[in-house]
Structures are given as structure tokens and as C-alpha cells.
Amino acid sequence: MSKSNFTRRGVLKTGAVAGAGLALPTIFTAQSGHAFTNDPTGGSVTLGFNVPQSGPYADEGADELRAYQLAVEHLNGEGDSGMLNTFTSKELQGNGILGKKVEYVTGDTQTKSDAARASAKSMIEKDGAIMITGGSSSGVAIAVQGLCQEAGVIFMAGLTHSNDTTGKDRKANGFRHFFNGYMSGAALAPVLKNIYGDDRKAYHLTADYTWGWTQQESIAAATEALGWETVNNVLTPLASTDFSSYIAPVLNSGADVLVLNHYGGNMVNSLTNAVQFGLREKVVNGKDFEIVVPLYSRLMAKGAGANVKGIHGSTNWHWSLQDEGSKAFVKSFGTKYGFPPSQAAHTCYVQTLLYADAVTRAGSFAPCAVAEALEGFEFDGLGNGKTLYRAEDHQCFKDVLVVRGKENPTSEFDLLEVVEVTPAAQVTYAPDHAMFGGAEASLGECNNGA
């Protein structure tokens, strides 16, 4: 067998060397002269676009990436400048950001927290990205937002609808333009009451993860406040593709409204199942049976086809809006890619402009300075009317659209029609609202990094 060479003296020596090594931790600390992470020193600045390019939200991711590329073009003074012309802040001149040419790197989040963080880390560590943006799922957005907080860069959230992103998981370095579950509920409930009456029994099917729960909670609270009753809430596994077994019990429950807290492919399948079971022709409690999909997107409506006709939901933005900002954006997006943008593309485009504008107003790329410029910033001309970036939780407050599946679509993009534009005041809540982490939720300190 082997012979051990360990001696008492040898062990002591090794221990002493190891101890000395551990006692001198500062020699490893980065001694760079920069005041913050990835201070852009050359003639260009790098942004990181971290979107799902594979997995269930790949369609949204592809559209987000198109919007980012368009935003970069406009910031660098190429193309027709899109929303730069309608934006109320006139700081951006089309000469990059603070005179530095905008460059970008892209990554694939795979709609997985781990992969998204790995991709964001490589953008920060390898490519020197000063800002990370993107995400088509709340879990990923929250995970990446946490990473950006630790690393000391700004995170501009893309499509993320969970209350938690700017609720209990809010971070000083993270900002969200997109609306959230609470806003969906607050906007949708009055419209539903007007159309379907205040004496309804709702049955919820909810995707069994963070986003599903927060949205279900929000919708149930908003509708119950107006007199509805929530009969049951059934959680469905995220991986489900067939919802027939969940639809059958709905008929015997005495409910007359079905709320589908599903997104993406889940919603397409559950809605299709519900329609196939003939739910919409049923009459329960003397009323027509109705289906509601709280979070709508055009891409989902396309997937569900004719089944979406007459079904109500809410959305952040729709390309058919007729304000100057929306028209300018739809025009430049359409010219470049040949079809209208989705709401995911819109929010990503706007977030990029807002970041560039905040840097310009702050006169610095330092995350804390940028955050300060964004906090409490009021603007208009970006498609949602007058908007406020609230300082307490870094959430944008703006009008919310209630939409309905169109009965007679004129084209493959013309699937939704706007029923009502709910004013921002009606969807505003207190920063310490119980659904948003209550009084304990805090942004923490802003982090400039290195």
C-alpha cells in the first residue's frame, strides 16, 4: 500500500502558508481605477440584450430582439428615429449615448433562471455591458435583476407581469416599464362588471408558479371587491398541454365565468380545450357562460386562432393605438421587418430609450446616477400616454388597455380590439401594498459595483 509522507513539521508549515494566504484577502480584490462596473472608456458603450431565443417564449424573445436592434439604430441616428421624435424628453440627439456609439451583445436565456444568469454574467464580465435588459418570464427577470443588483449594473426589465418583480423582489438597480398582475385586475374588473354584471361566480385555472399565483390573487381580489364570488381556484402544472381534465369539473361547479391565469402555450391550449368543451354555449345560473384571459398578447391570440373571438383580457400596449408615439413606432418597426410589433417588442424598445435618456440627463453611466434620473421621471409620447416611473418601487404607472378578441379580423395581425383604456389613476396602488411585499419590501441600496 502507499506510504504517507505527512510529517508534523510539514503539516505545520503548510498550515502556516495557507493561513497567511487566507489572512491577505485584499490582494485579490480588483484594483481598477473605475468608480463603477464596466465604465465605458472608449468611443462606444455596450448594452446586453438577454432574451429567450429557445424554449416556450422564443417567439416573444425574437420580437424583443428586433425591437432592441431598432432602438440601437435610432439611438445611433440611423433609420427614421421612431419614437425619439415623439418622446417628451428631447435629450437624445441620435448620436449614441453621451456621444458614445451604442453597441450590443445578445444572449439566450432559454427561459431558465440559471441560463439567464450565466448569459447575463458573461455579458457583464466578458463583454463589459453597462446595462442588461430583456426577459419574457417573471422568474427569469427576477433572477437577472438580482444578479445586476449584486454586480452593480442597471437592469431594465422586459416582459415580466408578476407583482413580485417590483413587489417583494424589487431592487434598487432594476426598473420595470411593463404593467403587472394587480394592474390587470384593477383594469379588467370594472369592465367585466359592466359587461357581465356584478353577480357572477368565477372559477380560476392558474399556472402553478409565481406569476400564476400573483395574478390569480390580484384578479380574485379585484373581482370580489365588485361583488363576484370566487368558486374555486385550481392550480395546473406548468408542463400541462391538455387541460380537458381540468375543464370538465368547471361545468359542475356552478360557476358561470372561467378565468384562465395562463400565459403563452398554456393559454392557447387551455382556451382551446374550454371552447371545444362547448363552455361558451352553456347557460349557467340563467347567464351565458364566459371566459376571461387576464393577460393577453397578440402572439397568444394568433396561436389560439378563432377561439379568442369575444374573449376579454388586458394588455400593456397594442399596435393599433392611434397616438403619435405608437404610430411612429409601428411605422419604423413595420418598415424594417414587415409586420407590426408585439407588446413585448414595445416595452423593450421603450426601456432602451428610457435608459439612454436617463444616462443623458444624468450625464453619467454610473448606475446610481442613472437610477436617480429615472426615479420619479414623468414622460409622454412613448405609446402609453402620460407615464410615471415611481421612485418607491421602480414601477411605471400608465394607462392599461382592456382588449377583446376581434369578431371579424381583417388580417392575421388584427386580432384584438381595444375595449377601454383604463386611466393610470385607477390602477395605481400604494408602494407598501400587501400584494407587493407589504411594508418590508425595500429596494435596498443602489450598487455601483467595482
Binding site: 500500500m1 502507499s2 506510504k3 487566507l22 484577502p25 490582494i27 485579490f28 480584490t29 480588483a30 484594483q31 481598477s32 431565443q53 429557445s54 422564443a58 436592434q69 450590443y104 451583445v105 445578445t106 444572449g107 439566450d108 431558465k112 433562471s113 440559471d114 441560463a115 444568469r117 450565466a118 448569459s119 454574467k121 458573461s122 464580465e125 466578458k126 418570464s137 417573471s138 422568474g139 427576477i142 433572477a143 438580482g146 444578479l147 449584486e150 454586480a151 413580485d164 423582489d169 402553478d208 408558479y209 409565481t210 406569476w211 399565483w213 392550480l235 402544472p237 406548468l238 418590508e440 425595500s442 435596498g444
Partner: protein
């Protein structure tokens, strides 16, 4: 040295040199050049190389030696990560207790899962482990993350919040995982001319752990226990007839490789304090199988090579987008440039799976022994070529 024979000592030294000098080896191109795209020497990816290397080494102890193909090893990786993050949340950001608990928890779970799964062999064993792993994933993703009993924080992933208890955390210590005050994120950047090299504390911790567990794996391969495991692979029935009970040995191998996975999971959480449920999904379990087969099943160094290969593609190729392609082919005339971008586009960016798949097929078809066999063939070819020239000069005509 250290109870190893000459060849194994050389291998261990080679691994040590490669891991310690990785910041240089992986950054061969100047930071501002167009080829910098292919540099892999940044902290996060280097850590991943090493951590998945550890994971694959452990997997190889089970699969390479006993031939039992576990399709659920990612579960142990995930359990290790969750255990580590809970230590961060409840006690301290120091990585030592976190990694220790990660290994212990993974060990416990592998005893339970192994005891049940190892009652069957072959495809039934694989399916059982797969079922357990998917069960763990579902538990972590939704069941154990309900607001009343939130053990895993579901889709968002378990992370440390400012209002967590952290009993032994005090002022002056970094607010990130650290080793007795040395933050895992701290990096020293060395600029030599146009080149830039990063030396990251977390990476070196992982590298040292890799060398230790690589040494352990060599010892297991060369031990009587390792021989017993090989016997199970070659003929389990015969082994039973000679009066040896194979089950304790397979269970031991299963638990050891489960603990390796837990160690990898703990290190992963130590480098980045977030544990997501996706790392327990069946695709993650499949990935380690790919790594081992790609590198060379049953070889010592193979799994590490396979892990590096796959992680390189995932992180480097997935980031090549159209604008970078246009830069590369900018020297060509416009039409030709667009044509080249059109040809290359499906294989990079979101198409990195495709490139990896093609390479995996090529390796499996032409090099069944994996990358290690490729290396051996090249070495043999070089050796034989020298010989052929020598012998060509001296061979006498055979009558």
C-alpha cells in the same frame, strides 16, 4: 507520488497545470481583436467549466465504472444548491459550511434514491432515476414553493434577501459568498499588452476542489473497490455466483457520485447565490450524460473535457448574433456577405444546439471512445508516423 503510479501522476499534474493556468489558456486572443469573441477566460465560464467537470467526474464513477446509467443526477446537483443557499440565508455567507451541507444532503438523498432504484438494472434503473429526478423538479418548481411553506421559491429560484436571518453574518464581511472574508466575486485583472487575464477567487476555489476530487477519482479507479465496480459492469451475474453481493458496491458508487453532484451544486451556489429548479430538470441530467459520452466514458479525464466542450458551445456560440457575422464577412462584396451570413446563421446564436448536435453525432459515429479516443488516435498517428519514417529507412527487403 501520493500513492499514484507514474502515468496517473502525470495526468494529475497535467490537470493541475491546466486548471491553474486556465485564465491564460482560455484567453488566447487580445481583448480588442475580432477573435476576442472566442475567448472563454472570464470568471463565470471558467467556474462553470470546473463545476461541471466535477459533476461529470462524479457521474463517470457510476456510469463509467458500473455501467449503471443514471438519468436523474441533476436532482443531486439541485439538492446541493438548495442546501447551500439555505445556509447562506440562515447562517452565514461563508462557503465552507454551505458546501459541506450540500455534499451531506446530496449524500442522504442519493442513499434513499439509490436504495430504491438499484433494485433494478439497465433501462429500468435509468427510468427510475429519471422519475425521481422529475419528481424532485416538480416538487421544487411548484409544490414546495407555495406561499405557506416556501422551501424552494419555485420558478424565481431560491435567493438571499436583505431581511434574511443570517445569524453569523456581521459588518465588514462581503454581502456575497466568501471564504473567510475573501469574496468569491473578487477578481484581479492582469493586463499584458493587448491581452487581459482575469484571476477570480471563486474560480481558484473551484479549481482546487476539482484537483482534490480528481485525485480522489483516480484513487477510486485504481482501488480494489474500483475493480469490483468494473466487475459489476462486465458481468454482474457471474459476480453473484462467485458469492459477492454487488448491491452494496453499486449503492456506494451511486452515493459517491451523488455526493460529487452535490458538491458541484454547492459550488455553483457559492459562485452565484441562487438555486433555480431548472438545474434539476431532465435536460440537465441528460446534459451530464452527453458530457461523459462526448469526453469518453470510463476514462479519467474524458468527462472534464466533455463538460468544457458543451459549456463552451452553450456560452460562446450562443452569443454570436447576425451583427457579429456581418462584421466577420464585411470584407466580402455585399451580396456574398449576406449569403455567407445566411449560411452560417442557423449554426450560431440560437442555433448553437444544432452545431453541438452535429458535433456530438460526429464524435459518437467516428470516435466511440469520445474526445479521449480522438486524442489517443492523434498521439498514435504522430508516434507511428515517426516510426514509419525510421523503419522506412532501415527496413531490409524481405528476401
Amino acid at each position: 507520488m501520493l500513492g499514484l503510479n507514474n502515468k496517473d501522476t502525470k495526468l494529475l499534474i497535467a490537470v493541475a497545470v491546466l486548471t491553474l493556468l486556465a485564465p491564460f489558456i482560455l484567453n488566447p486572443f487580445p481583448a480588442d481583436s475580432a477573435m476576442a469573441q472566442f475567448n472563454a477566460g472570464y470568471p463565470d465560464l471558467m467556474q462553470r467549466f470546473v463545476i461541471f467537470g466535477i459533476f461529470a467526474i462524479g457521474f463517470n464513477i457510476l456510469f463509467g465504472l458500473t455501467g449503471y446509467l443514471s438519468f436523474g443526477h441533476a436532482a443531486f446537483l439541485g439538492i446541493g444548491s438548495y442546501a447551500a443557499v439555505w445556509i447562506f440565508k440562515l447562517f452565514t455567507y461563508n462557503v465552507v459550511p454551505a458546501i459541506a451541507l450540500a455534499v451531506i444532503m446530496a449524500g442522504l438523498f442519493s442513499v434513499i434514491i439509490g436504495y430504491v432504484s438499484l433494485r433494478r438494472s439497465g433501462i429500468y434503473f435509468s427510468i427510475l432515476t429519471l422519475a425521481f429526478a422529475q419528481m424532485s423538479f416538480a416538487l421544487a418548481y411548484s409544490v414546495l414553493s407555495n406561499p405557506k411553506f416556501n422551501l424552494t421559491n419555485g420558478e424565481t429560484g431560491l435567493q438571499v434577501y436583505a431581511d434574511d436571518i443570517q445569524m453569523f453574518h456581521r459588518e465588514g464581511l462581503p454581502d456575497l459568498p466568501h471564504l473567510f472574508g475573501l469574496s468569491m466575486r473578487s477578481t484581479y485583472n492582469l493586463d499584458i499588452g493587448a491581452w487581459s487575464f482575469s484571476f477570480n477567487a471563486g474560480y481558484y476555489l473551484c479549481a482546487i476542489v476539482l484537483m482534490l476530487v480528481f485525485y480522489l477519482s483516480i484513487r477510486i479507479f485504481r482501488s480494489p473497490f474500483g475493480l469490483m465496480l468494473r466487475a459489476i459492469k462486465s458481468n454482474q451475474t457471474r459476480m453473484s455466483y462467485t458469492g459477492l453481493n454487488p448491491r452494496p458496491h453499486t449503492l456506494a458508487a451511486f452515493v459517491i457520485s451523488g455526493m460529487y453532484a452535490g458538491l458541484a451544486g454547492g459550488l455553483m451556489a457559492a459562485m452565484d447565490p441562487l438555486a433555480g429548479a431548472e438545474r434539476m430538470q431532465w435536460t440537465a441530467s441528460g446534459e451530464v450524460v452527453l458530457m461523459t459520452i462526448l469526453g469518453g466514458t470510463g476514462t479519467l479525464i474524458g468527462p472534464v473535457l466533455g463538460a468544457g466542450f458543451i459549456k463552451y458551445f452553450e456560452n460562446i456560440f450562443s452569443k454570436i448574433n447576425d451583427s457579429i457575422l456581418h462584421e466577420w464577412f464585411a470584407f466580402l462584396p455585399d451580396g456574398l456577405e449576406n449569403f455567407m451570413v445566411f449560411i452560417v446563421h442557423p449554426f450560431v446564436g440560437k442555433g448553437w444546439h444544432l452545431t453541438l448536435g452535429i458535433l456530438f453525432m460526429l464524435v459518437v459515429i467516428f470516435l466511440p471512445g469520445g474526445l479521449v479516443e480522438g486524442g489517443q488516435r492523434i498521439a498514435k498517428w504522430i508516434k507511428n508516423r515517426g516510426k514509419a519514417e525510421d523503419s522506412g529507412a532501415t527496413t531490409e527487403p524481405a528476401e
